[in-house]
């Protein structure tokens, strides 16, 4: 007989109550991990942004275009290594619920600047040779069962008309935070159609992506670029890619903050669930604890019994919750409209936070019952009738 045996049997004393507590903790930890994962997904663009990239956009709003002619002037700013550009194509593929980023880009420079999109060199060469070729992310290929040579017909909205793209490359994301579900095609292809059908919009791009040598110079370079176009018909706003991505989140910041707060409220709920069980258990055992103390069991040994039980309940629940998180995340992603969150994965930090909360909750939930046990005099405990 070891003290551990008594601890183990105490847990099994009210099997149903222990089981319900473990399930309660498990559900709460799963909800916590799911919320954290959604917040992570929201921030994926921010997380994936490179420190050596600046975004130059129209000073009024992202939706206004900039002249293509700015490119060479931006490239001449000291500290700038490379400049590329992109324009939002939008369009409808299959139906309006199928969402993923569709961008017209400068083929040569875009993939130089975005080195995190890994394209097979042969596929990239084939892409460059064909006017209406497109490179798609591996996630798009998987989702729509597309392979090299397939045609992607689209109905234009920002750029009206019927469009056809040939898949010539499928990129792999280099990092977990890299969007695996984007589509890039030649700006020149767009330009040809615009020249014929919408000549007023010729020579316009959405935004510039400026690669710089030293991330510490980003503020100076941003200022210099914006100064170049001050008082022009299209003034610019240059900022780091991170700040640019964050500006997209500003509209949803209240929701994200609420989710963040909720995720930590859930930890509080777990604490209440375990603390409630522990308070009930120790109150029922007031008499037994008094007997153990009379026999000579010390405060640390009593703490081992109470905190051990609390920790086992809490950690088992956490393990259950975390193991259920993976299928829950997958089910959540399936339930969302396609492409809502292109980057959706459980961060290791979320797992660590889940485990850590299990340990902290287990310890915290045992404080009140332990203190109550310790402050109850042995003779009072022996008289206690539960």
């Amino acid at each position: 007989m070891e003290l551990w045996n008594l601890l183990r049997r105490n847990i099994m004393r009210h099997t149903l109550r222990s089981l319900l507590t473990i399930i309660g903790v498990g559900v709460a930890v799963m909800a916590f991990a799911l919320l954290r994962t959604v917040v992570t997904a929201w921030y994926a663009g921010v997380e994936g942004s490179a420190p050596n990239r600046l975004i130059t956009r129209h000073a009024v709003s992202f939706v206004f275009s900039l002249p293509l002619a700015y490119r060479d002037r931006i490239a001449r700013v000291p500290g700038v290594i490379n400049v590329t550009y992109a324009i939002w194509f939008s369009g409808v593929y299959i139906d309006k619920t199928q969402f993923f980023a569709r961008l017209a880009v400068d083929a040569d420079s875009f993939f130089n600047v975005y080195s995190e999109f890994l394209v097979d060199p042969q596929q990239f060469e084939a892409f460059k040779r064909e006017r209406n070729a497109a490179i798609i992310g591996v996630e798009i290929a998987r989702r729509y069962n597309l392979k090299i040579g397939d045609i992607m017909p689209m109905e234009g909205d920002v750029f009206p008309g019927k469009w056809e793209f040939v898949v010539r490359g499928i990129y792999e994301p280099r990092d977990q935070t890299t969007d695996p579900a984007s589509m890039m095609f030649h700006y020149q292809y767009l330009e040809e159609r615009v020249r014929q059908e919408m000549p007023a919009r010729l020579g316009e791009i959405g935004w510039y992506i400026v690669q710089i040598g030293d991330p510490d110079s980003s503020a100076r370079i941003s200022e210099e670029i914006d100064r170049l176009f001050a008082n022009s018909r299209a003034e610019t706003k240059t900022e780091t890619e991170r700040a640019f991505q964050q500006s997209f989140l500003s509209a949803a910041s209240a929701v994200i903050t609420a989710m963040n707060i909720m995720s930590f409220f859930i930890i509080g709920i777990i604490l209440l669930v375990v603390a409630n069980t522990m308070i009930m258990s120790t109150r029922e055992r007031t008499h037994e604890f008094a007997v153990l103390r009379a026999l000579g069991f010390s405060a640390p040994q009593m703490f081992f019994l109470i905190a051990g039980e609390s920790l086992i309940l809490s950690l088992t629940g956490s393990a259950l919750g975390l193991s259920a998180t993976l299928p829950a995340v997958e089910a959540f992603q399936t339930a969302l409209p396609k492409g809502w969150f292109p980057v959706f994965y459980i961060k290791p930090e979320t797992i660590v936070l889940g485990c850590l909360s299990g340990v902290l909750v287990g310890l915290a939930a045992s404080i009140i019952p332990f203190r109550r046990m310790l402050t109850t005099r042995i003779v009072e405990g022996l008289r206690y009738v539960g």
């Binding site: 007989m1 070891e2 003290l3 045996n5 008594l6 049997r9 105490n10 099994m12 004393r13 008499h287 037994e288 007997v291 153990l292 103390r293 009379a294 026999l295 000579g296 069991f297 010390s298 405060a299 005099r377 042995i378 003779v379 022996l382």
Partner: protein
């Protein structure tokens, strides 16, 4: 003159209920020799259980001194008291107070966890203690599977397993039928006679008190 084994000097204890102070023990002085089997009798509220609790070190007096086998119990702090109890005191309660999720053998082994004995030695001691109380064949039974008399015998085995210097018994036959009570008292008598255990027993039962070597009466917190 032989030095007393348990020496109690001017012991006072009161309980407080709101602003009311209720004196329970008033200036008790008592000497108990080694290997004594003493019974404390008296009406409810006379302070017998409080006296027993103070000697056993599970309660603290307001004033006075208790020395047991050379240790001044009243000067020990909580941690020291816990260690002292584990080595020196065996408890026998009215309602047995066995741990319901442990078998008879495990219940007897429980206080042995606090000793430096190995797991094997602990088990051997617990078996021997159960054999002494005649329950070797019930060692794997849980308390709910035992009769009241058997439970009390397991409690006695638990009390003697660590070979304590004193056994304190609070109404050990109070919850037992006549036959079981006789068995328990026989056992306590044997422990005193054969193993020279010093036994302090609180009882209301004159037949139980008859088994003790000496009887002291308490009235309103004072020794009669």
């Amino acid at each position: 003159m032989e030095k007393p084994f348990i020496e109690i000097q001017r012991l006072c204890k009161s309980y407080h209920r709101d602003s009311l102070e209720i004196p329970v023990l008033r200036n008790i002085s008592l000497h108990i020799p080694e290997s004594e089997f003493i019974a404390f009798m008296g009406p409810s509220g006379s302070g017998k259980t409080t006296l027993l609790n103070l000697i056993a070190g599970i309660d603290k007096p307001d004033d006075g001194q208790i020395v047991v086998a050379g240790t001044e119990v009243t000067s020990l702090d909580e941690t020291e008291l816990a260690a002292w109890r584990s080595r020196n005191v065996g408890f026998i309660f009215q309602f047995y107070n066995l741990i319901p999720v442990l078998t008879a053998l495990e219940n007897v082994e429980l206080p042995l966890i606090l000793t430096p004995l190995t797991k094997k030695q602990r088990r051997a001691h617990a078996r021997t203690a159960l054999e002494v109380v005649g329950l070797a064949d019930r060692m794997h039974h849980y308390p709910r599977q035992l009769s009241g008399g058997q439970e009390q015998r397991v409690a006695i085995a638990r009390a003697v397993a660590t070979d304590p210097v004193i056994l304190v018994a609070d109404e050990p036959t109070g919850d037992l039928d006549k036959v079981s009570a006789e068995e328990v008292l026989d056992l306590m008598e044997r422990l005193n006679r054969e193993l020279n255990k010093t036994i302090l027993m609180v009882t209301h039962d004159p037949r139980a008190a008859e088994r003790a070597r000496s009887v002291r009466h308490l009235e309103k917190g004072e020794l009669a």
